[in-house]
Subunit: 179 residues, 2 copies
């Protein structure tokens, strides 16, 4: 049996932070942006924005459609098929917090990763329920509660000070570590 | 930490077979029923019906709304809160086969088991991804691939000849075994 990898969606397969940044640059919070793209690449929106502006952008996650048009993370489409030769891939995403996310996430996966069977998709909340050998996730608390052997922290601005896990900066990095 | 139970929905928390039988008795397959309720309690619809009749009833699982109005299994509402005192309960349901089932299953749980947090809901396909101590399921293949210690087969007509697992005939039976 192949070893199993549990792969997160937001900020791992999907560039969700990138979508939020674009929404901010487009003035979705109701005014012209006060920060440049360069600043937005150094610190997270949660750090840079006042609470009402952050909330105006972030709370769109609850709306139908939010998760349907997120850009695919660079390199994911190329690396996943190569990982699948050696590993059993499961997509494990904390979707149950967002009632309207299910169909969007399902259709997004069908569009961008049609090779992933419904059998290998997991919409969950607390990821400590996941049994796998490897987890790739951007959230330190998911890796902290993961029982498997290999914990890869996918780099994101919000996790840049975390040092407990092996950090991967990109999908090319994931490939170097796992293949 | 409390031991963890993975609880299935269809034919465990929800009386899905009962809904199918009622649809058949209501003539949803397009003609008066040829079998009595007594016969339908001895053999499963898959055994009793000709393929087109079975398909006419069974394929409604793909329609929006199918999973929203299923009756709750007798005793589940009473026993779950008592199990929750000693166990950590997760609802683990093979929902990803049915794109239209997510919101219906989510809303059904919110209506009938509002004490279950989104953190403890898992919509999956292959349940071998589930890490728990106990699994309660009506599908022998889910129990066969489960890595936990205690495997309880919730009785259903379709599993009545299965003998590899501890059979529980009702939620009262689950309570007797686990409490």
């Amino acid at each position: 049996m192949k070893p199993r990898i549990a792969i997160d969606m937001d900020d791992v397969l999907a560039n969700t932070a990138g979508k939020f940044v674009q929404m901010y640059l487009d003035g979705l919070h109701g005014r012209p942006p006060a920060h440049t793209l360069e600043q937005l690449q150094q610190e997270s929106l949660r750090e840079l924005l006042a609470e009402p502006d952050f909330k105006a952008i972030h709370d769109t996650v609850y709306e139908p459609g939010f998760f349907r048009d997120i850009p695919v993370m660079d390199g994911a489409k190329e690396v996943l098929p190569r990982l699948a030769e050696k590993y059993d891939l499961f997509i494990t995403t904390a979707a149950t917090e967002f009632r309207n996310s299910f169909v969007d996430k399902y259709d997004w996966l069908a569009e961008h990763f049609p090779q992933i069977s419904w059998r290998n998709i997991v919409f969950c909340g607390d990821k400590s329920i996941i049994l796998a050998d490897v987890m790739i996730d951007d959230m330190p608390y998911n890796l902290a509660s993961f029982s498997g052997e290999t914990k890869l922290l996918f780099h994101a601005l919000h996790n840049r000070t975390e040092s407990r896990f092996t950090r991967v900066n990109s999908w090319a990095d994931v490939e170097r570590v796992l293949l």
